[in-house]
């Protein structure tokens, strides 16, 4: 049972108990709900009357239970009736579309133009108060809700392969609807159901309270509350019990609905949406040390990134060693899940919640010539470096740009971070856009992200990243989401940037070896969270010293910049890492020794390293 499903237990039990009690009301040893005992009115709880007696001396407990029965009967009755009606309409409309949709789903939606309580009142006007009209009113009211939900779900299921297949085989539409589609739309129906029951109870009790619903002496919580208001001074508990029962029942159904939703819809984000907002400063920020004059821009040594929390110690990245010199371009290469993106995010302090740097160091040399260990920084420390020192181009520019702010405003905001004088900002924004090759920048800076083409969005993203002339630019697969011609253009832009800002280091994350060849000075190959090989691009590509690198290169089709062709097998998941060399299970060169212990790095040549004990044999 999943965690979410366990959360269903409490509301499930509550609702179950409630339903059981009202269902069993006729066999429970309850007093007659109509039996008056006027001399005993307003008596407090006694052995005979556990919750006391009401203004006519009737048993409060019995009336509470029978009142719940009346309320639930109306609520559940109308919820079921509306479910049947709405589901039918939704199924028909969603399956047949066209005219059928118009007369089923769309027609029922007209009801949604009337506020709910109003519609109920209208029906009561025409038919008079009482249980029957109430159920009818509530059924009418909730039918379109079901119709909508089922319609949407049917549309989804309808286009699935197995439904299309059945249709092609000539199955009767009715059979398809009931046997195939209906079971698939049940989950959203269930959620809708609990929602409707709660909502129907609110309306029923309200109408009864107004005297337009259930007619006395039939007990109903709304009526009991109405009656108890008058006797509030004499017997306040008479008001408390039905109010509690009503609020508690609605609460239970709402809870059930909430929990059902989170069980059935796992996309829901539940916890920890924003740890960075309130994560305490982990470590005392180390005082910046003056850097050695020849210090590289960035030196990552033995960096480890792991999952925090219950599954602590699960390494996603380990033993990562990367060095970036000023003006150098380093490519991080690897399949999905190799940890290359995580490594770059760690350098910005932007790791997803629950992930953290757990070891190693990442020494960065600032403009002022001091050394900062990025592995030790808290969010505030990172904030001072971001944009002006280290900046990042994200993969999916469409998502990475705020959709409701104009491009120019987003750029201006970035410029302000570096303290650019306000007066100079508009001109600088236009400059930046022109620099990244956006045509007509004076006009384009007023555009919203969605008004730009994919390539232009990525250019705008790059403009954001370089706005404050960072010394280290991280680019996380900046060309992946684009089509090939645009990819080439963006790549040209990066080359252009490199030429314009010779001192800027660039870490280029990609899985595209052709791109690497074109842009990078050094290449770092990552596999399953480890750096397996690195060295100058030309050397590594000419003579790979790790079987994985070799396989990568081999998988690139001749002369093409096509996507990486997968190597047989797949990257092992983080919790099932082989004990020794992580590539061993997929490696043609693997020996038993490989699986015994993780291989240490060897240096096949000056400026190169590999994590393979048989590197000499790899060609």
């Amino acid at each position: 049972m999943s965690r979410a499903a366990r959360k269903l237990i409490l509301p499930g039990i509550l609702v179950g108990l409630l339903v059981a009690v009202v269902l069993l009301a006729p066999v429970l040893p309850l007093a007659d709900v109509r039996m008056m005992d006027v001399p005993g009115r307003f008596s407090g709880p006694s052995a005979e009357h556990w919750l006391g007696q009401d203004e006519f001396g009737r048993d409060v407990l019995a009336r509470l239970i029978w009142g719940g029965r009346a309320s639930l009967f109306i609520a559940v009755g109308s919820a079921l009736a509306a479910a049947v009606l709405g589901t039918t309409l939704g199924l028909l409309g969603g399956y047949f579309r066209g005219v059928v949709e118009l007369v089923t789903v769309r027609a029922s939606e007209v009801i949604l133009c009337l506020p709910p309580l109003l519609l109920a009142l209208l029906v009561v006007t025409l038919l008079g108060a009482g249980t029957g009209p109430l159920i009818l009113a509530l059924t009418l009211l909730y039918t379109p809700n079901y119709a909508r939900v089922v319609y949407a779900a049917t549309l989804q299921v309808r286009s699935l392969d197995f439904v299309t297949a059945q249709r092609a085989m000539g199955a009767h539409p009715l059979a398809i609807l009931t046997r195939t589609i209906l079971p698939n739309v049940l989950p959203p129906l269930l959620v809708q159901m609990s929602l409707v029951v709660a909502s129907a109870m609110v309306i029923e009790s309200g109408l009864s309270f107004l005297g337009l619903g259930v007619v006395p002496p039939t007990p109903s919580w709304g009526l009991m509350i109405r009656a108890a208001r008058g006797a509030m001074e004499v017997a306040p508990m008479l008001l408390v019990w039905p109010s509690l029962a009503l609020a508690g029942t609605i609460l239970s159904f709402n809870l059930l609905c909430d929990r059902l939703q989170s069980v059935l819809d796992p996309r829901q984000i539940t916890a920890g949406g924003a740890l960075w907002l309130h994560r305490p400063a982990r470590k005392a920020a180390a005082a910046p040390q003056p850097a050695a004059p020849d210090a590289p821009l960035l030196r990552i040594r033995d960096l480890a990134i792991a999952v925090e929390g219950p599954r602590h110690g699960l390494d996603l990245v380990r033993r990562a060693d990367v060095t970036v010199l000023p003006g150098q371009t380093v490519a991080l290469v690897g399949e999905s899940g190799s940890g290359k993106t995580l490594t770059s995010l760690a350098l910005m302090g932007l790791l997803p919640d629950r992930l953290a740097v757990t070891g190693g160091e990442a020494l960065y040399t600032t403009r002022e010539g001091t050394t900062v260990d990025l592995a030790q920084l808290d969010d505030e420390g990172f904030r001072r470096l971001r944009s002006t020192e280290i900046s990042m181009v994200f993969q999916d520019a469409a998502a990475a740009l705020n959709p409701v702010l104009r491009i120019g405003d987003q750029l201006a905001e970035t410029l302000r971070v570096a303290g650019t004088p306000e007066a100079g900002i508009p001109a600088r924004v236009v400059d930046l856009l022109r620099q990244v090759g956006i045509p007509d920048p004076e006009r384009r800076c007023r555009a919203y992200p969605h008004e730009l083409s994919g390539g232009q969005r990525q250019r705008a993203m790059i403009a954001l990243a370089v706005a404050n002339s960072p010394r280290l630019l991280l680019a996380d697969e900046p060309t992946t989401a684009l089509d090939p011609t645009i990819q080439a253009q963006i790549l040209q832009l990066f080359l252009q940037l490199k030429r314009d800002t010779p001192g800027m280091g660039l870490v280029f994350v990609t899985h595209d070896l052709a791109v690497v060849a074109e842009i990078a000075d050094r290449v770092v190959v990552m596999y399953a969270g480890e750096v397996v090989e690195q060295g100058p691009v030309a050397e590594v590509f000419a003579r790979p010293r790790h079987p994985y690198t070799a396989a990568l290169i081999a998988s690139v089709p001749e002369g093409g910049a096509e996507r990486l062709v997968a190597i047989p097998g797949s990257v092992p998941p983080p919790h099932a890492m082989p004990p020794g060399c992580r590539f061993a299970p997929r490696c043609d060169f693997a020996r038993p020794l490989c699986e015994a212990a993780a291989p240490v790095a060897s240096a096949p040549a000056e400026g190169r390293s590999t994590r393979c004990i048989r590197w000499k044999e790899v060609t």
Binding site: L121, G128, H278, N402, T414, A418
Partner: protein, 319 residues
């Protein structure tokens, strides 16, 4: 943008026409004679003479299409007929009372947003913390407690026991602004409580979702401090669905303040409707339903337009 509004207005007009026709049909397509239906009570048969008189009064003897045209033209010209009870023009009564109902709703929405947005945002930022749990519990209880229970309790506390506020009633603003506002507080608060719960929950969920968005990461990558990130990137984006929900809630409330108006003796449109329902004053009921529905439809239109203003992506849909 203008094209979008025009397009949505057309849809709204179509919906209004549907509602107007629906109300007409509700009366005429239900089996049995509407006049008889209105007059009979439970198992008591209606007096045939009275039925005939009512048929005449309601113009039921004319051909159906003619009745329909009269019904529609009446609505179009703002003529909703006169009350069965005292021949008062229905439109006049509605115009008198509608602003009061709207006032309660707006005040409630204002209170709900005033307290709901910051609390919801805070709960999201501190998701799964103690305050979050408390706010979540409070909003669940607020959402589950019917407004007439809340109303009865606040009257007992604030009017009868503490005597801080009047128990109920209405004084026109022009007559006594202070008293008017004092009288507004309790009903607006009682209505606002459930709206507050909805807004708080919605804000929390929405902020949580926005916090996961890539553009928030971008904002962080840009080196923005927390404050501007939250204000410009998180809350602003998160508020779009919250505003939508608030608008829809207000629409529901237009016909849903019945209980509050009853409990606080607030002479708004809903109370008028209940009295009309009770007296089976058909022209009044139909008139009020019509006006509320039209408002409802146009409020939804307004919500969509505001949405489009806030979220530039939406207007694409129309073109």
């Amino acid at each position: 943008m203008l094209r979008y509004i025009a397009y949505r207005s057309l849809i709204a007009l179509f919906l209004v026409w549907l509602v107007v026709s629906l109300v007409f049909l509700l009366l005429h397509l239900i089996p049995g004679d509407p006049a008889e239906l209105l007059l009979s009570q439970g198992n008591i048969a209606a007096d045939p003479q009275a039925v005939a008189a009512l048929r005449e009064k309601m113009g039921l003897n004319a051909p159906l299409w003619q009745q329909y045209i009269e019904h529609v033209t009446g609505v179009l010209t703002g003529d909703l007929g006169a009350s069965f009870r005292d021949r008062a023009p229905v439109m006049e009564q509605i115009l008198l009372r509608l602003p009061r109902t709207l006032e309660v709703i707006l005040a409630a929405a204002f209170l709900a947003a005033l307290f709901g947005v910051p609390l919801g945002t805070y709960a999201a930022i501190r998701a799964d913390g103690k305050i979050d749990a408390f706010v979540s519990l409070l909003s669940s209880v607020a959402l589950s407690t019917p407004v007439f229970v809340v109303g009865s309790v606040v009257i007992l506390i604030f009017a009868q026991q503490l005597q801080w506020l009047p128990a109920g009633g209405f004084v026109p603003f022009s007559e006594d602004p202070v008293q008017h506002l004092k009288l507004l507080i309790l009903p607006a608060g009682a209505v606002g409580l459930s709206v507050w719960a909805v807004i708080t929950r919605m804000t929390r969920a929405s902020v949580l979702e926005v916090l996961q968005r890539d553009y928030v990461r971008t904002a962080r990558a840009k080196g923005l401090p927390r404050g501007p990130i939250l204000r410009r990137h998180v809350v602003r984006n998160a508020l779009i669905p919250v505003l939508t929900v608030l608008g829809l809630e207000m629409g529901t409330l237009i016909g849903g303040t019945v209980l509050v108006e009853f409990v606080f003796n607030w002479p708004g449109l809903s109370g008028y409707l209940v009295a009309a329902v009770d007296a089976r004053d058909y022209p009044e009921v139909v008139g009020i339903v019509m006006v509320i529905s039209v408002l409802f439809v146009f409020l939804n239109l307004l919500v969509d337009v505001v949405n489009a203003l806030l979220d530039p992506r939406i207007s694409l849909g129309a073109s």
